[in-house]
């Protein structure tokens, strides 16, 4: 009985995938069908968000009820989640109190996390040569230093034309070439991963 259901799941995945992909190829013929399926997917993603929120709350609630270590943080997550849901739902996404929560809690924390990222990246760059001493990591480090120096006029000195030309050589030529090769490689990998699902070989949906 179970194999019948998994077979049905595989057929659904392949059929939906084929229709959407053919919608790319024949936009006039199947473009409308593709748009509808994609619109369904957008709305289903919103329903999935409801399940996701439930999952998040269940996980933290279980931590609190089973008194696992550091469960106090889970309690704080639940409290802030419920409070934000209530305030934002009542006053609307662009309401005064929603924006108050967003501007005074979420934005400062996110910017501070990126500020910590600056220190973390500097530390990672400083330890790179110790972790992997090769010609390529050396080239990487030299490139980082040159680009940082040429991103803005030097302090007190101002613009240095040599640095600017180095900057455009590195960014406009070498990086564009490497980025294009990387993007093409990633695209090949994405095609392979997607086709395995469309063939029914990979079935992450419990097929």
């Amino acid at each position: 009985m179970k194999t019948i259901f998994s077979l049905i799941n595989v057929v659904i995945a392949i059929a939906a995938g084929a229709l959407v992909f053919l919608g790319y190829v024949f936009p006039d013929l199947l473009g409308g069908m593709r748009a509808i399926l994609l619109q369904w997917a957008i709305i289903l993603a919103a329903f999935a968000l409801l399940v996701g929120i439930l999952n998040l709350m269940q996980a933290h609630w279980r931590k609190v009820t089973t008194k696992q270590p550091k469960a106090v943080y889970s309690l704080v997550v639940l409290a802030s989640l419920v409070a934000t849901l209530l305030v934002t739902a009542l006053s609307g996404p662009a309401g005064k109190w929603s924006l108050w929560i967003y501007n005074n809690l979420q934005v400062p924390i996110e910017i501070s996390l990126l500020a910590v990222l600056a220190i973390v990246l500097a530390y990672a760059a400083a330890r790179l040569m110790r972790r992997r001493m090769t010609w390529y990591t050396g080239m990487f480090l030299v490139t980082v230093l040159l680009v940082l120096l040429s991103t803005a006029p030097l302090y007190l000195i101002g613009e240095v034309s040599l640095l600017n030309s180095l900057h455009s050589l590195i960014v406009d030529i070498l990086a564009v070439a490497g980025a294009r090769g990387l993007l093409l490689g990633v695209a090949l990998g994405t095609i392979a991963a997607g086709l395995r699902v469309l063939m029914g070989a990979d079935r992450p949906y419990g097929g």
Binding site: F5, N9, I12, A13, L19, V20, Y24, Q39, W40, I43, L44, A45, F47, L49, L50, V51, V76, V77, S80, L81, V82, A83, T84, G92, P93, N103, L105, I109, E110, I111, S112, L114, A115, V116, L121, A122, Y136, M139, V142, T143, V144, V147, L148, T151, L174, A175, A177, G178, R180, G181, L182, L184, G185, V186, A187, T190, I191, G194, G206, G207
Partner: protein, 230 residues
């Protein structure tokens, strides 16, 4: 006055949260964890209301209430499939939601393949073949040589970077370890790896510059608050 008070109170909370997060630089501590817990709750709650408001309310419930017959192909099936997907919320009923998940994974896979082919491979192919296209050289012919060298370097860089990732190996003769073709192993791969190292250096510097902008913004914010309240 009441709004003024809320703003001041907000600034103080923002100030405290900023210091709590920056304390992670010294080490993982209680204040940082508290700030992270608040952040996960607030961000998830706000994003949830936004999505429910913009998608479920405006694109599903309002059309169903105001004009049920319009756009039937969109509203009814997605509402039914959505409710069906809610079974994934309980671990006992989760198995029944697999068909809807299969639909979403199928659509996602097709979007990925379509995006990769029509969004990356064809445009990048077209842009790469235009690198030496005289049509796009500068009209007055000035700097033709530098334009050509620039185009050639980008073309070669793109191809050797792509070649570097070759996965297949074959034994190159009796008793030797399986290896990639000597042309790849000794020429294309090292050149490709050099281009990759430079590209990653540029991208890393970009991320660092953005993060430095955030660090300066936070330092300015903290100093502003201190100066304001002292």
């Amino acid at each position: 006055m009441q709004t003024g008070l809320a703003d001041i109170f907000g600034l103080i909370i923002g100030f405290l949260l900023t210091l709590m997060v920056l304390s992670y630089i010294i080490g993982d501590n209680f204040l940082f964890r508290l700030a992270m817990a608040i952040f996960v709750g607030v961000a998830s709650g706000y994003a949830a209301v936004l999505v429910i408001y913009n998608v479920l309310w405006y694109q599903l419930i309002v059309p169903l209430l105001t004009n049920p017959t319009a756009n039937l192909a969109l509203t009814i099936p997605s509402a039914l499939l959505g409710i069906w997907l809610l079974t994934k919320g309980s671990s006992r009923l989760a198995r029944f939601g697999n068909p809807v998940l299969a639909f979403l994974v199928g659509v996602g896979a097709a979007t990925a393949v379509g995006g990769a082919i029509f969004g990356t491979i064809l445009p990048q192919f077209n842009a790469s073949t235009n690198l030496l296209n005289l049509q796009y050289a500068s009209p007055d012919g000035a700097g033709l040589v530098s334009w050509f060298i620039k185009g050639l370097v980008i073309l070669v860089g793109t191809l050797v970077t792509l070649a570097y990732f070759h996965f297949g190996v074959r034994s190159q003769g009796e008793g030797s370890l399986p290896q990639r073709h000597p042309l790849i192993e000794n020429f294309l791969a090292p050149a490709g790896q050099a281009f990759i190292a430079v590209t990653f250096g540029v991208l890393f510097a970009g991320v660092y510059a953005a993060a430095l902008g955030a660090l300066i913004d936070r330092v300015r914010f903290v100093l502003d608050i201190i100066l304001r309240f002292l």
